[in-house]
Amino acid sequence: MEETKKKEQSGSTHKIGIYLWIWGLLFVLSFFSYLVDWYQFQGMLRWSLILFFMFLKAGLIMAFFMHLYWERYALVNVLLWPMTAIVCFVALMIAEGKYTLFSRLFYFFVGG
């Protein structure tokens, strides 16, 4: 009750310009990733472009729309470190997916 330092009524708000900027950027980046498909880039180029635009967009949304850029580092770290488990899971499942396909084809054509 009284013992509290009066709680901050609100965080400081940010200028509207920054939101409009990010908003614009998100449209532009989405457009670019759409172009990747439009021009039918294939192979490594396609995949790296898709990932590049995806991570940029995700980063912008998290950092500015979700205010993570302005949050304290403690929160940011708590949220981002667990992703290493996901990264590990993804990496292993890439290997596993290839292996499953390999063994399916191998035993199909060569026989068990």
Binding site: M1, E2, E3, T4, K5, F89, L92, Y99, T100
Partner: protein, 612 residues
Amino acid sequence: MSEEYENKSGYQAQSSETISGSSSGITPDMDYVRPAENAEQDLYHPHSFIEKWVFCQDAKVIGVQYFLTAVFTGVVGLILSWLMRLQLGFPGLAGFITAEHYYQFVTMHGMIMVVYFLTALFLGGFGNYLIPLMVGARDMVFPYVNMLSFWMFFVAVAVLMASFFVPGGPTGAGWTLYPPQTILEGTPGHGYGILLMLISLALFVIGFTMGGLNYMITILQARTRGMTLMRMPLTVWGIFTATVLAMLAFPALLVSSIMMTLDKLLGTSFFMPTILKAGEVLEYGGGSPILFQHLFWFFGHPEVYIVALPAFGIVSDLISVHARKNIFGYRMMVWAIVGIGALSFFVWAHHMYVSGMNPWFGFFFASTTLIIAVPTAMKVYNWILTLWRGNIRINTVMLWCLGFIVTFVNGGITGIFLGNVSVDVPLSDTYFVVAHFHMVMGIAPLMVIMGAIYHWFPLVAGKMLNENLGKWHFWTTFLGAYSIYFPMHYLGFIGVPRRYYEMYDSPYMTSGVGLNEFISTAAFIVGAAQLILVFNIIKTMKTGKKAGQNPWKANSLEWFTSTVPPEHGNFGDRLPVVHRWPYDFNVPGAEEDYLPQTAAPSEVAHTEVEKT
């Protein structure tokens, strides 16, 4: 610096600079504690019987509700284990147990014990009761959501139990629920049974998420003044880390149950490969059964530590209090808990060495598995070093703790065996594995639960449990449990496979016959011995002696509530202020052999206390 809270009718007298006893005003106040950051919590007091005892928002009542519901499921699990042991020890004696029934018992026993009993008991039961008390909060941060969490769990249990009564009975696919057999004809309960199981698991995850958010935010954001993370009792650390694991591991379970439900109901083939059954190709095709195993164990291994970590934490506190000695290497203990928690997301496929996964994975997962044994071993050393030259009181609580250490070391060592691929391959799916995981995640946490019941019963009910009965309870349980699981290692070595209904005339059976009878007899005795605890509780409630405040002379905050048992809001009209860790026992120079966490530095200036 502190005008805003200082002179509010005697509030927080300890923390203002003016109290400082020093002669000049220059020395900083040694008792200074930063002002409160959180507003006083706004509690909703119940207005009716239903709000007070049924849809209650008080974490302590919710904790007891969780506890009782979990114990109920535990009793069901125990009865199932009796039925299994009846069949294994004396095949054919109980004619009504068919092979199908046996599989159903195995499955339900495993799932109930791991998820609905141990997880709910530690996190829902002990977590709810102890977290707010131990960190000095009035309640969980979102009491309403907390209440919903329990009722969601309750519905999950109801759905699970309902599966015993549907046509076809409960699922008999093993607690790992591996597809494709789980949902195919020939597996008991492949119709309604498995569906109810999957629904129940999904409900459990949803309910747990609501509770878990509460536990995490209460610990992170609602500690009392002076309570830093490194002053929290290890119980809280254990429950906290387990909750984090649960929040990150249960999603994999949720996803795999959703996908399996779709395979079952809509005929998708996420996990279902092309299957030839009696010469006919089934509708399924192209899916990946091993994907399910990965998802399941990405949940499953952290789940193992969801059960183990709270037990680690609680046992550390119990040992310290009853050996009247500070916990050895507190920081190491905390980092070990956190380290085990983090590593537990990188070891899951050690359950899949014989599954046909990518063979290179063996290297990775064997290495991570053996690495995780390092912090675990450090914890064991620290428990032993805490006991070393302690003022040990061999009471019931301490006996359970010692029992825990023995069984845990036993199970941990067999874990090292199983972590190595080449050793695991012949041992996997034998009774050796059964012995391993029962020692490490069955008996060891159970020992801690029992110790915790004897330790905190005086707080919850205000009366001391009977010591003599307690010792009888301990010795029968401990010796009995050892008689059950120790011989199983041997059965595993001679190759007896797990999840088998009967061995018939196989060589296993002939050499294991006497042993199986012995194990089964021990199992009946251990199960029945739990009635001693029930009797003890009834007797204590009637005639037991009053516990009074802080009967064990412990330091942590749960013993310093305004009333025993604590009422809604826990701490009367002012929250405690914390000045030290909870392990200041036998400080040289102090009058008593313990210094509560609330003792201010100026009060203990004459002692040789090192840590404040």
